[in-house]
């Protein structure tokens, strides 16, 4: 008994010390990046602001005081300050050299969209009208089609693939330039691509062909309405999920990983598998940062970053996520005390 007591005491002590930490989730690592000097400001021209976080660094463009050609500009990158620059273009070149252009400066959203303006020029897909009245898709010198009609032609960010949807002899198809082609049906919504460009999904309302939809609408409006209340999700690899009802809300790929999500009522699905019940109103995929296993998340609200473990951090400015082993890491920048640029990082 005498020997057991110290061990038990130690066990209780460890348990009491550690349990609250587990309950509260991991503590973020906080790092001061830079303190604004007197008169120095985060540059914010034309409704843009130059704070961008990457996995490795935080990049800032600052302005200070006045000059003949506008205020002198400075760049803070990897903790080092460069400048002054007189032109924004010069400051941007210094800031984003080797970072893939204006990475992370403007689009700040948790759902992924391949910026079609950033695609290599030789990989910009086009649609053309065929002399017989059909449409073709041209991508990297290769012609696809002709089809009756083509919609949503999107190239991946690296220009390696193009995806599009077609109506071919009254049948709808989701097609990838790498040869994958799967049947879809109903009324397709917008096509979504994964960040790595290897996957594509589309949600469709109903499961009939275009002609069947037209006929049903004309002959049996009640049946037509019932049909159009069903939603399905298709992937380029031939998977089909659904039907989901009228509560089907949104479908998207998340930045930072290549999982796709959709929300049916309060039920969140990851890659077609139910993972979480969410009570977030109004819900926007743009504000929702899920972990790679789909079981945890961080949510951007206008005044804080709220984690599914209940932790809350005020005023996040720029948010990125990335994988580190099994963990989905989230990193965000905040301006504290009106002058301190601080970066936080923790697992979701």
């Amino acid at each position: 008994m005498k020997k057991v007591t110290p061990i038990l005491t130690l066990f209780v002590f460890v348990a009491l010390t550690c349990l609250p930490a587990f309950a509260q989730g991991p503590q973020p690592v906080r790092k001061l990046i830079y303190s604004l000097e007197t008169g120095e400001e985060l540059l914010q021209p034309e409704s843009a602001i130059f704070i961008s976080a990457t996995k490795e660094s935080v990049i800032l463009i600052l302005s200070k005081g006045k000059g003949d050609k506008g205020p002198p500009l400075f760049v803070v990158k990897n903790g080092k300050k460069k400048g002054p620059f007189t032109k924004l273009q010069e400051a941007m070149e210094a800031a984003y050299e080797g970072e893939g252009g204006s990475i992370g400066v403007f689009r700040d959203c948790a759902d992924y969209t391949p910026d079609q303006a950033q695609i290599p020029p030789d990989a910009i897909p086009s649609t053309e009208f065929d002399e017989r009245g059909g449409q073709t898709v041209v991508f990297k010198g290769k012609t696809f089609g002709p089809y009756l009609s083509v919609s949503d032609v999107l190239a991946t960010r690296d220009g390696s693939r193009a995806y599009f949807m077609v109506n071919d002899k009254d049948r709808l198809w989701l097609i990838c330039s790498d040869g994958r082609k799967v049947p879809i049906a109903g009324s397709p919504q917008t096509l979504k691509l994964s960040p790595d460009g290897k996957n594509a999904i589309v949600a469709c309302t109903g499961s009939l062909s275009p002609t069947e939809i037209e006929e049903l609408a004309a002959t049996d409006p009640e049946k037509f309405n019932a049909e159009m209340n069903k939603n399905y999700v298709y992937t380029i690899d031939g998977k089909k999920f659904g039907p989901y009802g009228m509560d089907f809300k949104d479908f998207w790929f998340s930045v930072g990983n290549n999982n796709f999500f959709f929300l049916d009522g309060n039920q969140l699905y990851m890659n077609g598998i139910p993972t979480l019940t969410l009570k977030i109103e109004p819900f926007s995929p743009c504000d929702f940062y899920p972990s790679a296993d789909g079981r945890k998340y961080a949510l951007f609200t206008l005044e804080s970053l709220v984690f599914s473990d209940g932790k809350k951090y005020p005023f996040p400015l720029n948010i990125i996520t990335f994988q580190e082993g099994e963990q989905t890491m989230i990193k965000w920048v905040a301006l504290e005390n009106k002058r301190d640029i601080v970066v936080y990082q923790r697992a979701i």
């Binding site: 602001i49 700040d108 005023f315």
Partner: protein
Amino acid sequence: MWPLAGVLLFLQVLAPLSAEEDYAVLFGEKYAEAEKFLRQNSWIADSLRLPPQETRIALAIVFPEIIRFKALEDKIQVRALKVLYIQYSQKYADFSVGHFQMKPTFAEKIERDYNRLFSAEEKTAAQIAPFETGDSSRLRRERVVRLDDLHWQARYLRLFMMVMEKLYEGRAFDDDLEKLRFYATAYTTGYAQGEKTIRRMMPTRHFHVQLLFPKTRYSYADIAVFYFNRQTAPATRVPCFARDFNDF
């Protein structure tokens, strides 16, 4: 009132388009998208609760901003600026939100002027309650949420028209086009700058549809007038989408 508006409309139908540039061609697809947006959201015109000609003027005032929004909506994100505005107020209030590209400073001013210029009876008739005053993080957050809501943008536009009528009541405008030029310039440069400054700014070319580094700038009022004329004139021109939008 209505017969006169009808006569004015008829005269405008006969009149040639006054703007020199064909902005439908210049802005191509984005001009067409902005037009389509207003067609598909006809509730905006209804929600303004203005006489027909005033409604046309109000929509023309925001039309250039819709073009800009359509050109940049996939690129520009003002999330960080919204956060900084809520956190630190005025210093970070200079950014534009939504289809009508309204700034928090514009909303603040409209709210203050609506509270100040309109009697309790007028507010009841307008069916818009006075705004809560002060400058707290909570109020700024509520304002940002309002600016993110298209219904509220339409309401702010209606309030802008009401406030302008109050502030510039009795000003003689040669015609509706001059009034539109004045109002559109006031909307884009700040209506509180006073009549003299607004009139001086009317021909200036500050408007562009690039995120940064614009090559060409246009007169905001000219674009508003061009849209207004096309809405009242018979469709004689077909927009050409031949030009690459990124060329400007």
